[in-house]
């Protein structure tokens, strides 16, 4: 029997990966006013990495993305708890956040939130947890 390879899947993945990651970044920044946010963005990014894992294998992907996903969870928690505790430094209650409106070039009137930093933490925690679970399932034989 001929050895089957997945050339079509690998070639399609190389293009689709960037589309999915771009969509996840869009979902991340659409949050707070529209449906979206850190959780769904992290899930879409880990979906893109899962597609990479399906098309190639664990060895190739861990060479291309040399992250220890357990440490990604730690960095994400640091962001989230740091933003939550940041209000305490200024004598405000826990989880207080600020926002302001800025006129940026090209983008026009934009609102800048400290909630984005909290969302980055959620994003990293979701990616780290999902990829740790999936890699642990995939490695066990």
């Amino acid at each position: 029997m001929m050895k089957t390879n997945n050339l079509i899947l690998q070639t399609a993945t190389k293009i689709l990966l960037f589309v999915i990651v771009l969509f996840s970044i869009y979902m991340f920044f659409a949050g707070h006013y529209e449906p979206g946010g850190g959780f769904i963005g992290g899930l879409m990014t880990s979906g893109a990495i899962v597609l990479l894992l399906i098309a190639y294998d664990i060895k190739t992907v861990s060479k291309a993305l040399p992250f220890d996903y357990k440490k990604v969870v730690g960095v994400g928690l640091l962001f989230a708890t740091g933003t939550a505790a940041g209000g305490l430094l200024f004598g405000k209650p826990l989880l207080t956040h600020w926002f302001t409106y800025v006129d940026l070039p090209l983008l026009g009137k934009t609102s800048l939130h400290t909630a984005v930093l909290f969302d980055i933490g959620v994003y990293l925690v979701v990616i780290g947890t999902t990829m740790t679970i999936i890699q642990t399932i995939g490695e066990s034989e």
Partner: protein, 94 residues
């Protein structure tokens, strides 16, 4: 008139979804079930598109993309399991 056409299309897609659910439950072989699940995802996208025309909103367009991507990844994972027997390989060059 256009609204009536949209409701008729919604009804027909719902009937198609019932046929696909029958195939997912009854399907004699696993590939039948996988193809039916993929087609269910596509009909779900169609239902959401028609609903967002009826409701005159563009809030659901992100969800169409999301369901499309998730259905694609799910179908790819099922297909690889059927073809190779495992979804995520440790080293494919062995």
């Amino acid at each position: 008139m256009f609204e009536i056409l949209l409701y008729i299309a919604l009804f027909l897609i719902t009937v198609a979804m019932f046929g696909l659910i029958y195939r997912v439950i009854k399907g004699p072989t696993t590939p039948d079930r996988v193809v039916a699940l993929d087609a269910l995802g596509i009909t779900l996208v169609a239902v959401i598109a028609i609903l967002s025309i009826i409701l005159r909103t563009n809030a659901f367009l992100d969800i169409i993309l999301l369901i499309g991507i998730l259905a694609f990844i799910g179908t790819v994972a099922f297909s690889k399991y059927l073809e190779k027997g495992e979804v995520i390989e440790n080293d494919s060059n062995l």
